[in-house]
Symmetry: C2
Subunit: 373 residues, 2 copies
């Protein structure tokens, strides 16, 4: 089942004249017959259009339906539903004809900034939804054409969907994590290409898609330790996200790297207890939380990881992490307030980057211990 | 007026049992009452749910309405319409409660890959629509918060909308042209930062937003000539798109540049007649057309510009142009076929680039005259 959502503004004065009003309604119904041959009005709410708005529902049982709603402030919406999947292209053409007829119906349309903008075909009832809401609630339609992997681990739902333009995409708990076209993410969270990793000791928290490990593996680091909790992500990435991880995770231990599948918290505590230090700590665990106050389990987790990471960071080391959408100004501000409250004084910079599959500009942070005064 | 579109898959076997079926329908209506207090069922189509699908329409006159449609193949859709703008946040919470109740209603929901995915609030009847359909028909919601400029020139509708993340955006005929965050576009269409413009003679076709001129003006070119047809675009850009054009168009003539407002075709013909040649021709006029066959006025225009441009190109010169979305494979293939049919033999390379506000990966071409064999 698919739906087309259309809208226009009508001239309210038309409805004040009962004769014109009748013409108006008949015009609408006539236009609708361009879409459905056997459709009949099965519901019409009242005739006091001006004061109460109006509703007309037209149905061709089992094939299609049209809901027309007019509000008192002059907004007219048309929802065209195609219930059966017969000849969708033909239906598209009919919607276009309907659209054109209404736009040309000068008598009812008020020419304003808001033109008659069909939202296009909304795809419904599919095996996987192409729609995602971004962090800031914007609707984005993806060009997914294949569900490549579908699993549920102890931690999250793990899906890999194929996008025609972005390649395979890792989607965790319905949230786009990384696509094979998202190198800018990996570059940003490893310091924007401005760091010299030669001889350095690197810790990656999360990063189960293997992108960071793959990106850094040939940069001459002395040792890279990656700790991700979800075996399912690592295993699925190895097979389906080669455009992200290459062969970096085919073996879980190499000359200069080691992959640990497990919870990073006890490992961080152990490193701290042993006095192990890292030149770079890259926190790829999760975006910073969105909430009205910096409280709750997500923020506690964030502060725990942050403070454990600072504990194991060399004095001249750097900590990289993603923030959130550049539009999430309150969340970013609250995060920065947390940074200023840390026991060890830190300084930070941030950078805004376009990660293709995110459809939102994304903020990344670099932290380092401030020189003690 | 706003709408929320929800969906789930129901177990058809429930409907085969008339008693369960009654329970099912009552459950739905009960859930709907979480959203609307005074709502009553004003239309219900039939009781032969299994064979014919079903429709229930519930209305709170003047405030909200809910259309529930079930198809024979087990897709259940809910369209929740808020007609009045009273307390939209409260309504959001009610939708969430409704959503949760249905998801928990294990008896009716079939657990499949397609989970219960609310598309979020669809914003309707606004002064300007936040929705755009990309070249490939994908729905994208923009974070526009202000209509900065609204005009209609002899050639097109010219709008500048403010996006919270991308800054001001030039929208021509409802098509996103360029935002203040789209430097990657300008870099790509000027050769990806790999060209040395010092001492060169450059021709820009279109480019009325001023981005290319601004980007190249301090790269040491001998002369840059820009020809754009639309005075309204140039004038609006000068004021509202400073993040794109800087001060490049404040004066329309400078030491090493000249802006001509006019049709580029007669100018190209005049340049050719005079034997004027350019080291770089940058065609920023329009994306390559989308059509099933490489015929029609758009393609004729494209071929005309292309052949005139090749006429005025130095033998070792380069021609840059945008192509289209990387997903428009047929259009790109047809364009490349046209290139191979030109009288003067040309070679080309292409590059795929992420232009933030486009929400689609975009292809750019570089052409040059092949060495004659």
């Amino acid at each position: 089942m698919d739906s087309w959502l259309l809208e226009l503004r009508f001239k309210k004065e038309i409805l004040k004249d009962s004769k014109l009003s009748e013409t108006f309604m008949n015009g609408l119904v006539e236009a609708v017959h361009l879409i459905m041959d056997g459709g009949r009005v099965v519901f019409k709410n009242n005739n006091d259009y001006v004061n109460q708005g109006f509703t007309v529902f037209i149905q061709e049982p089992n094939i299609s339906s049209v809901l027309i709603q007019g509000t008192r402030d002059g907004v007219l919406t048309f929802d065209l539903h195609l219930l059966s999947v017969v000849e969708p292209e033909v239906f598209d053409q009919k919607v276009l004809a309907f659209h054109n007829k209404l736009v040309k119906h000068e008598g009812i349309v008020r020419r304003e900034t808001s033109e008659f903008e069909p939202m296009g075909r909304i795809k419904r009832g599919r095996k996987f939804s192409p729609y995602e809401r971004t962090t800031t609630g914007l609707v984005i339609e993806h060009d997914f054409d294949k569900l490549v992997f579908d699993g549920k681990s102890s931690y999250q739902t793990v899906r890999i969907l194929h996008s025609m333009q972005f390649g395979n995409c890792l989607v965790l708990d319905n949230d786009m994590n990384l696509s094979e076209s998202d190198l800018p993410y990996t570059v940003a969270i490893t310091g924007g290409g401005r760091e010299d990793y030669r001889g350095k000791n690197v810790l990656i928290l999360g990063g189960g898609d293997g992108g960071i490990l793959h990106h850094l593996r040939d940069k001459g680091a002395r040792m890279i330790t990656m700790i991700d909790i979800d075996r399912m992500v690592v295993d699925a990435a190895k097979i389906h996200l080669r455009g992200i991880c290459g062969d970096a995770m085919d073996k879980e231990e190499g000359d200069n790297y080691k992959i640990i599948v497990g919870d990073c918290v006890p490992h961080l505590k152990k490193f701290a207890a042993e006095g192990q230090k890292f030149d770079y700590v890259i926190n790829d665990l999760t975006a910073i939380p969105i909430s009205l106050e910096p409280t709750g389990s997500f923020w506690d987790f964030l502060r725990l990881i942050l403070s454990l990471s600072i504990d194991v960071l060399e004095d001249d080391g750097k900590y990289f992490t993603q923030g959130n959408s550049s539009n999430m100004r309150d969340a970013l501000r609250m995060y920065e307030e947390q940074l200023n409250k840390l026991e060890v004084k830190v300084s930070f910079t941030k950078e805004t980057v376009c990660v293709p599959s995110y459809h939102e500009l994304w903020v990344f942070y670099t932290l380092w211990k401030s020189a003690q005064s």
